[in-house]
């Protein structure tokens, strides 16, 4: 049995957890003479979470693989109940009612709901009677995905809810028309372009592009008719106008600033300075900390900006900036590569599964980790707007670490069991 585990994935998991802890230690370090197990310090707590995760790994791997498929609905329903229970028993931390407080411990159910949703979705999709190419099947799948997200949004924790978008990768893999992804992608693109260049240029550009497509695809059988293309153009223009309208009239200034920062729309130095000190403070500090690391970094516990607590939330969402400052480009590139390898490996493992359930679950795991990785690091290095979600295995937090550990190791168990799946 042990031989069948995918040791590469397990190795990367432990590497990420270890590197993560070292950086949490540095980010929350107060001085020498403290035990690394000191429970009054965050790094001590995180060490406990790591130990608990190892225990959890043993439990997850010991349970019969079939259990996860068979009880996926139960687990899903339980996690929905836990999420709903927050409205009654939830504890408010930092403005979000996302935690249960039990004794001295806190538990964030949304971190576990991801695994539960992945199980439920895989179970539903792998059912022989499900066809997501039909409207009914697709709707049910979407409901499975959307239910936890809809409960999480008003906590409010839009970042965690956004992660559920990653399941569209799974739907896509299982046959969902690429148009959905395409439309989503085009919408985001149009949104950004409208803000950057204005409605008129976007409309003109779209018209030009569609004309080009029309002539280039003249010989193709699948070419779109002039009517269809005109329709697309009209929809795009209307969309572009409404983006402008919403941005100027519905968004509040803080939202506008967030997008200005992301798309680098502001070029007045005085306003830029204001943005740096207010809405862009985190991003600016995080970029500076990473930049100051250079190639080799300043060394373990030597990061001056880390020591000075210049980057807010550095041990949680911004943990990657500690890597950047203390371990330099060598460190950041290593972490990016480890995540890339992990996600590629997971996808590879998913593809080799014999049962549809395992494959889809594996795909979900890869997609969720990918989504977290992409959004978190993109935010920390200033390429994406500020969306507060943790870096898997890295960021401080017991629920997060446990949730990801369970998510990952269920798949490792399924993978190890794949030859028994007939």
């Amino acid at each position: 049995m042990i031989k069948k585990f995918d040791w590469l994935t397990i190795l990367i998991y432990f590497l990420l957890v270890a590197i993560g802890w070292i950086n949490i230690y540095s980010a929350t370090y107060k001085g020498p003479d403290e035990s690394i197990f000191n429970l009054n310090e965050l790094y001590g707590k995180q060490m406990m979470f790591i130990i608990a995760s190892v225990v959890m790994i043993v439990i997850v791997l010991s349970i019969e693989a079939k259990f996860y498929e068979r009880f996926s609905s139960v687990i899903y329903l339980a996690s929905l109940l836990l999420l709903l229970g927050l409205f009654v028993f939830g504890k408010n931390i930092n403005g979000a009612t996302s935690w249960y407080a039990i004794g001295g411990m806190t538990l964030q159910p949304s971190e576990f709901a991801k695994a539960a949703t992945a199980l439920a979705l895989s179970k539903y999709l792998s059912d022989i009677q499900t066809n997501i190419l039909e409207f009914k099947g697709l709707m049910r799948a979407v409901i499975i995905i959307a239910l936890p997200a809809l409960i999480i949004i008003p906590q409010p924790d839009p970042g965690s809810a956004l992660v559920y978008a990653s399941f569209f990768f799974v739907l896509h893999r299982e046959g969902l028309s690429p148009w959905y992804l395409m439309i989503g992608f085009v919408a985001v693109l149009l949104f950004a372009l409208t803000l950057m260049f204005g409605t008129i240029w976007v409309s003109l550009g779209t018209a030009l592009l569609l004309t080009l497509i029309y002539f280039v695809s003249k010989k193709s059988k699948k070419r779109l008719s002039i009517l269809q293309l005109t329709g697309i153009l009209l929809v795009s223009i209307v969309f572009s106008y409404s983006v402008n309208f919403i941005f100027e009239n519905v968004f509040e200034q803080r939202h506008r600033d967030r997008f200005s920062l992301w798309l680098r729309l502001e070029d007045d130095p005085a306003k830029l300075e204001t943005i740096r000190r207010t809405i862009g403070y985190n991003t600016y500090q995080s970029e500076s900390a990473i930049g100051s690391g250079g190639l080799m970094g300043k060394g373990f516990l030597e990061g001056t900006r880390t020591k000075g607590d210049f980057v807010p939330e550095q041990h949680t969402d911004y943990i990657f900036s500690t890597v950047g400052e203390e371990w330099g480009f060598i460190g950041t590139a290593t972490v990016v590569l480890l995540f890339t390898i992990l996600i590629l490996r997971l996808q590879y493992l998913a593809e080799r599964q014999k049962s549809a359930f395992s494959r889809m679950y594996g795909y979900s795991v890869a997609a969720i980790i990918f989504f977290h990785f992409a959004i978190n690091i993109g935010m920390v290095i200033g390429l994406l707007p500020t969306i507060g979600i943790p870096l898997p295995f890295f960021s401080y937090g017991g629920s997060g670490l446990m949730g990801f550990t369970i998510l990952l190791f269920i798949f490792i168990k399924l993978d190890a069991n794949r030859i028994n799946e007939w």
Binding site: R173, L181, G293, V336, L337, T340, A367
Partner: protein, 639 residues
């Protein structure tokens, strides 16, 4: 296709992210300079600047501490204003207006609340200071002058400017740097080296400890005291003698090359350039373009040396064997060469030997000598080359290499110079005859003349003049000040010339300014000079020049004096030289009559002449100068 979407996106994303990271961490280095790191603050510890002493260990320049009361308005807590005002001896209204001013400047940044507390005020305030949050004392150290003389060679200190910051990486904005004189020349020794502590701060700008446990911190190196070769009493006396005159005095100890006095007139009190009033005073001094108090005439003024230069021609004549001490020339109240004539004040038909030639300052004698030197060689150019080599061996025509930051090279003409002017082999000794009497193309600065005098006093060698005597009790170990510069003249040739110079005081041009009991060798000189006023070239009264050393047998001091527009060498420069020598050797003045003449004498009237726009006489009324503007006025008045 569907299998590859996720993997393609993750690979593309990884490339984008690594690209972005390499931009942030490898390309854009704006956040990698630790001094720009907002988390680290460098705190400097400035050592006290070294003191400056004169050769007799009199303190010339020390430091004084100023205590400024500083305030950071944002940190100020409610306080007992009445007690606070009493401590600082200010009124409640003062307090309110000063506080408001500081707050308007910036609530966050420190500003000076009350500048320059006295020591006593500082002491009483310091005891109670911790009660007043937001107020603190900042100590500033400025120069304190124990003398009112020597501002020209002492220099001053001021804040570094943009150019210093760019060229000298040691300095930070707001720091002080030595300017001019020894403050500039010995800047690094006097300044020492500031210490630095790197402090780690958090984002609220609170200190959270030393950066890397003080690994990069340094302790300050104390600035060292220096001792100058200047005799402050002599310097001061020289400046007093020069009051109401313009010119310079340079005195050198021949046996060492040490500069005993370096006087320029007019001068100013060094205290004028201390502290807040420095900038205003400096501007005033700097823009006085007529008297030029910031222009060090002793080092920078280039004049024709006049008659003192004859001593060198005598020495060269002896060395070249073209004359000996018995060689006699007849003076025809001047010297006729070709169609030209060089006048002289000897009666026509006087027969002068070398001794008399020197003490009577006979132009004809040295015209003959000079021609013999040049004409000894087949061509004038060759003769000129030999002559130039001899002259340069006395340190003329070049920066001497002394340890002050300013100077002029003066000028010694070379055969190439005349070749350029007249064409090769198209000029003869007579073309350059003015060199015989120091009036031609030769230009010297007073310090060069003083050094030349010291060389004669030493009978043939000199040490590079210098102003540094020792650095913090170590004697100086600067090779170039310990090197003997030998002239090309053999020692035995000096005695006849020195005898002539001694006779200048006994029976020559300076016999009525003798100093009792001191045997002095000297030489008078006058130099014609011209100025341009409003674009018009005008001749002014000759400069009065004098060189001397004493005692003749064992010279302790060699001196060069020049007084602008003072006319006869003995009238002003000669008297001043004599008084300086007496002051230095005896420490007291016996020729009170001479002293009174000089101290009370003023040449201001002479200096105002060219600016009066009226016709004026020069050289004791021997010549009238009529400015163009005044003739115009006259014409218009006549109409």
């Amino acid at each position: 296709m569907r299998k590859f979407l996720l993997s393609s996106i993750i690979i593309i994303l990884a490339i984008i992210y690594i690209g972005r990271l390499s931009y942030l961490q490898l390309v854009d280095s704006s956040s990698q300079n630790p001094l720009d790191d907002t988390a680290i603050k460098a705190v400097y510890d400035y050592p006290e600047r070294g003191h400056i002493y004169d050769r007799n260990k009199n303190l010339l320049v020390a430091n004084q501490a100023f205590y400024d009361v500083m305030v950071i308005p944002r940190e100020v807590k409610p306080l007992d204003t009445l007690e606070f005002c009493q401590l600082l001896n200010i009124t409640k209204e003062d307090f309110d207006s000063k506080y408001k001013k500081a707050y308007t400047y910036s609530p966050r940044l420190p500003s000076v609340f009350l500048p320059q507390l006295s020591k006593k005020e500082y002491a009483t305030f310091q005891e109670k200071m911790r009660k007043y949050e937001g107020f603190y004392i900042q100590k500033r150290s400025l120069r304190h002058y124990m003398t009112d003389a020597g501002s020209n060679f002492l220099g001053y200190i001021s804040e570094v400017n943009e150019r210093d910051l760019k060229n000298k990486p040691y300095y930070q904005s707001g720091e002080l740097i030595g300017r001019q004189g020894v403050e500039q020349e010995y800047e690094e020794i006097l300044r020492g080296r500031k210490g630095v502590k790197f402090i780690q701060k958090d984002r609220f700008n609170r200190v959270i400890g030393p950066y890397k446990n003080g690994m990069y911190d340094t302790l300050p190196d104390q600035g060292k005291d220096i001792r100058l070769t200047i005799d402050n009493a002599l310097q001061k006396y020289g400046e007093e003698l020069m009051v109401n005159k313009r010119g310079g005095i340079v005195a050198i100890e021949p046996s060492s090359g040490e500069i005993l006095a370096l006087v320029t007139a007019p001068s100013y009190d060094p205290e004028l350039l201390v502290g807040r009033k420095r900038s205003k005073n400096y501007t005033e001094l700097y823009y006085d373009s007529i008297a030029k108090p910031t222009y060090d005439r002793g080092l920078l003024a280039q004049y024709p040396p006049g008659s003192p230069f004859k001593t060198l021609n005598a020495l060269i004549g002896l060395q070249e064997g073209v004359i000996d001490e018995n060689t006699t020339f007849t003076c025809y109240h001047g010297y006729k060469y070709g169609r030209r004539f060089m006048g002289c004040h000897c009666p026509s038909g006087s027969r002068n030997n070398l001794d008399r030639g020197i003490y009577e300052s006979c132009n004809a004698y040295f015209a003959n000598t000079y021609r013999r030197i040049i004409e000894k060689y087949p061509t004038a150019a060759e003769g000129m080359g030999v002559w130039e080599k001899h002259i340069r061996s006395f340190g003329l025509g070049d920066y001497l290499g002394y340890d002050l930051p300013i100077g002029k090279s003066g000028k010694v003409p070379s055969p190439e110079y005349y070749n350029r002017a007249y064409g090769e082999n198209r000029w003869y000794s007579t073309f350059t005859l003015s060199n015989a009497i120091g009036q031609g193309e030769v230009l010297t600065t007073p310090i060069q003349l003083a050094n030349m005098t010291a060389t004669i006093a030493n009978r043939g060698y000199y040490y590079t003049p210098h102003i540094i005597k020792s650095i913090e009790n170590d004697t100086i170990d600067i090779h170039k000040f310990k090197t003997k510069h030998q002239t090309t003249i053999d020692p035995e040739h000096f005695e006849p010339v020195i005898k002539g110079m001694n006779d200048v005081f006994i029976k020559g041009t300076a016999k009525w300014i003798q100093i009792p009991d001191i045997s002095i060798a000297g030489k008078t000189g006058t130099a014609e000079n011209f100025v341009k006023v409003d674009g018009q070239r005008m001749q002014l009264t000759d400069h009065s020049i004098f060189i001397a050393f004493a005692p003749v047998e064992d010279p302790k001091i060699a001196i060069a004096v020049f007084v602008e527009n003072g006319y006869w060498g003995s009238r002003w420069a000669g008297r001043i030289a004599g008084l300086m020598i007496e002051k230095y050797i005896k420490g007291e003045i016996t020729r009170k009559d001479m002293e009174k003449f000089v101290l009370e004498g003023s040449l201001q009237e002479e200096y105002e002449k060219p600016y009066s726009k009226k016709p004026f006489s020069i050289n004791d009324g021997k010549k009238m100068i009529i400015p163009e503007s005044s003739t115009e006025n006259k014409v218009s008045a006549a109409q």
